[in-house]
Amino acid sequence: MKVIVCIKQVPDTKGGVKFNPDGTLDRGAMLAIMNPDDKAGLEAALRLKDQYGAEVTVLTMGLPKAADVLREALAMGADKGILVTDRVLGGADTWATSTTIAGAIRNLEYDLIITGRQAIDGDTAQVGPQIAEHLGIPVISYAQEIKVDGDKVIVKRQYDDRYHMLEAKMPCLITALSELNDPRYMTPGGIFDAVNADITTWGRADLKDVDDANLGLAGSPTKIAKASDKVRKGAGEKVVPDTPEDAVKYIIGKLDEKHVI
């Protein structure tokens, strides 16, 4: 069984977001990490490796430094890492990104593709389903549980007020929720091997059956008209009352002033 896991390197927002003096996001000051939903997807794939001896390939698209998350994945137990990087692929929206990744995947054999539900920088949840669409395979998004049964995969799919147990014939694509599992740590031996492991690097020329018109910034149907850091309304009053009674008096006063009570 062959599993491809698509992962993304994202800035870490945990433990505080850093801002520049002018109020813009200081991306350079934040650590780059493997996107949490993707890591859960990787863990799901590694469990299939433990159970069925699946071969796990991790694939990422990004700047050359995105190779770091591939090495992390290798240190966790993935077998092979592929980095798709090329200047002409930069600035891609979800359409152009999914077109690129599908073009890379067409070079590979697979039974299952796993992506995270969404990345914490863009939060779109679009790339996974769009890759499946480009490849003409079924997609099951928001997976909470994944089981393999012969040539079929059985997935618990979460909705707002219910879940479905879905069965799909492979090949198929699944998008993973971070609730799916607790990803394992890298092993010391794995880290040692990963440092020197070969990472396959592909550029535009290695993508199969894709049109230049659908790649990069120019090939993105959506265009950014304006981007800014969110202006928040800012802090109001803060009081440190001496006693709980004073605290309550303060709150009641405000509720009364605003005609809530």
Binding site: V17, L25, P138, C172, R232, K233, A235, P241, E245
Partner: protein
């Protein structure tokens, strides 16, 4: 290449579950009416399901001029493939200028699949939609390249830290998923009627149809926190699931409902449907009590539009105080029960 001039009208995916129209469908219709006005366009609801024709009048009351119904037994429960086939066939046949889909667990699956199939852009989780120019300002010397009457889609990214306005100038339809709880529905017009078109593109199961083995509905009598006027929201600082009792008592006294942060859901203290925030629900009540909630950016993104935010936290440096209108530093275990007592007393005094 598409002839984008052929694409007309504002379309809304009228999500239904168990043959009941989801609230988001009415919200999208309300927004679609706003967008249709400057475009001088019709508002069309696309209703997909099995045995759903009876829902058309409701959609008319909430602002649909026209309803396109795709009714087929294959469409009984939501599945990506037959629904994506239904919606993309409607788009290819009726050519909307704008296609809005709710950013629900269904819409965030359907939207990307359909946008890839009809080869257009999709902007996720929008919170503001306008009609305007792209680029926003004309480029000197290239004034005639500025496009007018474009859908401008604004969305938060980076867990709510940044905000971007996005256009889709060269492809149609201009597609967006829209965050539930943000757009306003219109006051329903009793007795309003819409033009009804029945359309069936035909459904032939292929490799992309997955099989539903089981449907398990969450048994819940909890009212939707998105409808609450007052929310009493608890975080990890509440300490234990049992201690939520003091929040429930406060909510009962003030006529509100209890909600919570992600940490509380992750700890298994409260169900997911009570979660406020980026991965939970967006709420905008009149009053939001943030009790023992530190105020991670992902939480704030889901509640910062509340009219009044009152925070109670023992940590003076908690980021929740950066967004609270009224912040109280202190012990919630002492303040909350006392607050409940005083509110009940105040109510009694007013009633007497």
């Amino acid at each position: 290449m598409q002839n984008i001039e052929e694409y007309k009208g504002v379309f809304v995916f009228a999500q239904q579950v168990d043959n009941e129209v989801s609230g988001i469908a009415y919200e999208l219709l309300g927004k679609a009416r706003d967008l249709a006005e400057p475009l001088n366009a019709q508002v069309t609801a696309v209703l997909i399901g099995s045995g759903v024709k009876g829902l058309c009048d409701k959609l008319a009351e909430y602002g649909a001029d026209r309803v396109i119904v795709v009714d087929d037994p294959e469409l009984k429960e939501y599945r990506t493939e037959p629904y994506a086939h239904a919606l993309s066939s409607v788009i290819n046949e009726y050519k909307p200028e704008i296609m809005l889909v709710g950013a629900t667990a269904i819409g965030r699956d359907l939207g990307p699949t359909v946008s890839a199939r009809v080869a257009t852009g999709l902007t996720a989780d929008c919170t503001v939609l306008n009609i305007g120019d792209f680029p926003l300002q004309p480029i000197p010397g290239k004034e005639d390249e500025q496009k007018h009457n474009q859908l401008l889609m604004t969305r938060p990214a980076f867990g709510g830290n940044t905000i971007a306005t996005i256009a889709c100038p060269n492809n149609r339809p201009q597609m967006a998923t829209v965050r539930p709880g943000v757009m306003q529905k219109i006051e329903p017009k009793k007795g309003a009627k819409a033009e009804i078109i029945e359309y069936n593109p035909g459904f032939t199961p292929n490799n992309r149809y997955v099989e539903i083995k089981e449907v398990v509905k969450a048994v819940s009598d909890v009212k939707d926190i998105m409808d609450a006027k007052i929310l009493v929201s608890g975080g990890r600082g509440v300490g234990s699931p049992e201690n939520f009792k003091i929040l429930e008592e406060l909510a009962a006294a003030i006529g509100g409902q209890v909600s919570c942060s992600r940490a509380v859901v992750d700890s298994g203290w409260k169900p997911k449907e009570m979660q406020v925030g980026q991965t939970g629900k967006t709420v905008r009540p009149n009053v939001y009590f943030a009790i023992g909630i530190s105020g991670a950016i992902q939480h704030v993104a889901g509640m910062e539009e509340s009219d009044i935010i009152i925070a109670i936290n023992k940590d003076e440096d908690a980021p929740i105080f950066d967004v609270a209108d009224y912040g109280v530093v202190g012990d919630l275990n002492k303040i909350v029960p006392e607050l409940t007592k005083q509110i009940l007393a105040a109510k009694e005094a007013k009633g007497a």
